[in-house]
């Protein structure tokens, strides 16, 4: 068991180092952007004197290493700086938007997970049959359709034609109050508050963007589940299990899935990271008040602190996901746990 803790500790230290590396990288990258943020902030009519003054205020006149020191010092205190665009603390602005993105990402992730993994497994079990063909067509569609196009078509069909979904403007209909914040996820909070009306409204807003995203990200999940399951089904220990008469469902979901789960898990981590950081397009189409939209605005206005914080946030999400995946991996695989 102490080996297990050693493993976790090593992974944890590596995670910390990775986060630190990301901080340095993000800092340098944003300083390499071609525009001078002080000039931008001062506006097109400002004279050199004003720009200088802004530079001093923003600390941009100091050497890079000093700037970096100040920056990390702030980070340690949990201070992400102020947005130069809105003059609000970035931490607060992100804090408001994270639950929106998280709710969308989690829903899409759960749909894709419970949809993609079984589909991939079934396709592997019936490989080369018509079931397999259909699943593969489905995955190929998901991999090749443009997210933007799919989102618009979704809105057209399910909102405009069928009225199954709410208007694509945000998380709630105007006039309906946000549920009291507990998790920040409206579906859960409204249920906790016992407010069925709000729940329904939140659900009507959520399901279409979530399904759109889920459709796109289920493609890689299906593919990896199918291929790793196919490999596992050819393994010798599956033949042994068959040779003692293990019935097919057990074979598939016990012997098979557990062994195939390790590569699937890696892909799930990548997908979740993507959903947290990459659903800008869907947030745009559905006017979803998440961090993707925020990052886009920040980037187009050279809002250093906001961009830096967004990239850092996503990087931390990825790094911690990797850490969690390593943990699960070690829990599943005795070879890692015990060696």
């Amino acid at each position: 068991m102490s080996n297990f803790f050693n493993f976790i500790l090593r992974r944890f230290l590596l995670t910390i180092i990775a986060v630190f590396g990301v901080i340095i990288l993000v800092f340098l990258l944003t300083r390499l952007l071609p525009n001078n943020p002080a000039a931008l902030r001062a506006g097109p009519l400002a004279d050199a004197e004003l720009i200088k003054q802004y530079e001093r205020e923003m600390g941009l006149d100091k050497p890079l290493i000093v700037q970096f020191g100040t920056y990390t010092g702030q980070l340690m205190r949990g201070d992400l700086g102020d947005s130069w665009r809105t003059s609000q603390p970035v931490r607060e602005e992100l804090g408001i938007r994270i639950p929106a993105t998280l709710e969308l990402a989690l829903s899409a992730f759960i749909i894709a997970l419970f949809f993609g993994v079984p589909l991939g497994i079934i396709a592997a079990f019936y490989s080369d049959s018509w079931i397999d063909q259909i699943v593969r067509v489905f995955a190929t569609l998901g991999a090749s359709l443009a997210l933007f196009w799919l989102a618009l078509v979704g809105v057209y069909i399910f909102y405009y034609l069928l009225h199954w979904a709410a208007a694509p403007v945000g998380r709630l209909t105007i006039g309906i109050n946000e549920p009291p914040e507990i998790t920040g996820l409206f579906l859960i909070d409204s249920l906790l508050a016992g407010d069925i009306e709000t729940f329904k409204d939140a659900f009507n807003h959520l399901w279409l963007p979530a399904c759109t995203l889920a459709f796109i990200v289920s493609a890689p999940i299906i593919k990896i589940s199918r291929s790793s399951m196919k490999d596992v089904l050819n393994a010798d220990y599956i033949r042994t299990a068959k040779a003692i008469g293990v019935p097919p469902t057990k074979l598939l979901f016990k012997d098979g899935l557990l062994n195939a789960f390790i590569p699937i898990l890696t892909m799930l981590g990548i997908v979740f990271g993507y959903l947290m950081g990459g659903n800008l397009i869907v947030e745009q189409v559905f006017a979803w008040p998440g961090i993707g939209q925020y990052a886009w605005k920040a980037l187009s206005t050279n809002d250093f602190n906001a961009v830096q914080s967004f990239v850092l946030l996503i990087a931390v999400v990825y790094v911690s996901l990797n850490f969690i995946i390593d943990l699960i991996y070690a829990l599943i695989n005795p070879q890692i746990r015990l060696e």
């Binding site: 393994a235 010798d236 220990y237 033949r239 042994t240 299990a241 068959k242 040779a243 003692i244 008469g245 293990v246 019935p247 097919p248 012997d255 557990l258 062994n259 599943i332 695989n333 005795p334 070879q335 015990l338 060696e339």
Partner: protein, 325 residues
Amino acid sequence: MSAPIIRVEELTVSLNTDDHQRNIIDSISFDMFPKEIMGLVGESGSGKTMTALSIMQLLPKTIKICGGSIWYEDKDLLKMTSREIRTIRGNKIAMIFQNPRMALNPLMRVGDQIARAVCLHCEVSSEKSKSMAVELMSQVGIPDAESRARSYPHQLSGGMAQRVLIAMMLACKPKLLIADEPTTGLDVTIQAQIFKLIKEIQSEIGVAVLLITHDFGVVSEVCDRVGVMYAGQIMEISSVIDVFTNPKHPYTQRLLKSILRVDRKSDLDTNKALSPISAVFDSPGCRFASQCDCVRPECLWERPKIYTDSPGHSVYCFNYSRDNK
């Protein structure tokens, strides 16, 4: 002799590729009797494994049985539903494989894997099955079985893993154990131990063993009878004594000669020259004909009928069946 437990009758197995069908097993027949150890020898690709997998009904997807029957207790295994077959597998007929460490699920404790085999076919509680698993493990000579049962496969040596597999397969006291090159990849000393174990178990619980091997040395030490296969056909079946002292089929004679030579480490190529080329699989006659020194015209287009030299010694060769008429 008592009634056979397994009767393989004119079993034909084919591999279908896009452009043509090839019978990788061509109408073979043999019987297995209770409590005997029968060897199945032949070069690589002669279809030994496919014969075994046909009995287990575990053939790869691309390979299909297209004729014959396999009788077990008056029932044709080939006509059973997959549910019926599962009640036979691991229960009445069990099989162990080469590469034992790969044949165990890497994520399950070995004791649990054995216990599961017990649970599948016997109505026992899970506690009982666990203690039975430990018992089985000590029965197959695993020292310190109690703690070994909690190991994972990667913590076992190949020899230990094969013992675990044997324990798993013996869980329900099967009538037939198929062992497909069970010692490939193991140390020579371990190999001897595993064969000794198989022999002990055979006499202890009275299971019949179909032992697939390349090794005539093993055949002579372990087996009672032996079948010789070439390119999907059975050439000769006889007692072990007969095969060494009185081999009838030209292929058996060649094989024995070449093996003796290989033992003296001179000429490995004789063996290679004998291995079947793919064209012989399409021949309607004896598949060894193109290599045979005593070939007759009819060998090329007609399958030799069985010739019984003495009780229990059958040869498929025209040189005997025609002479004897």
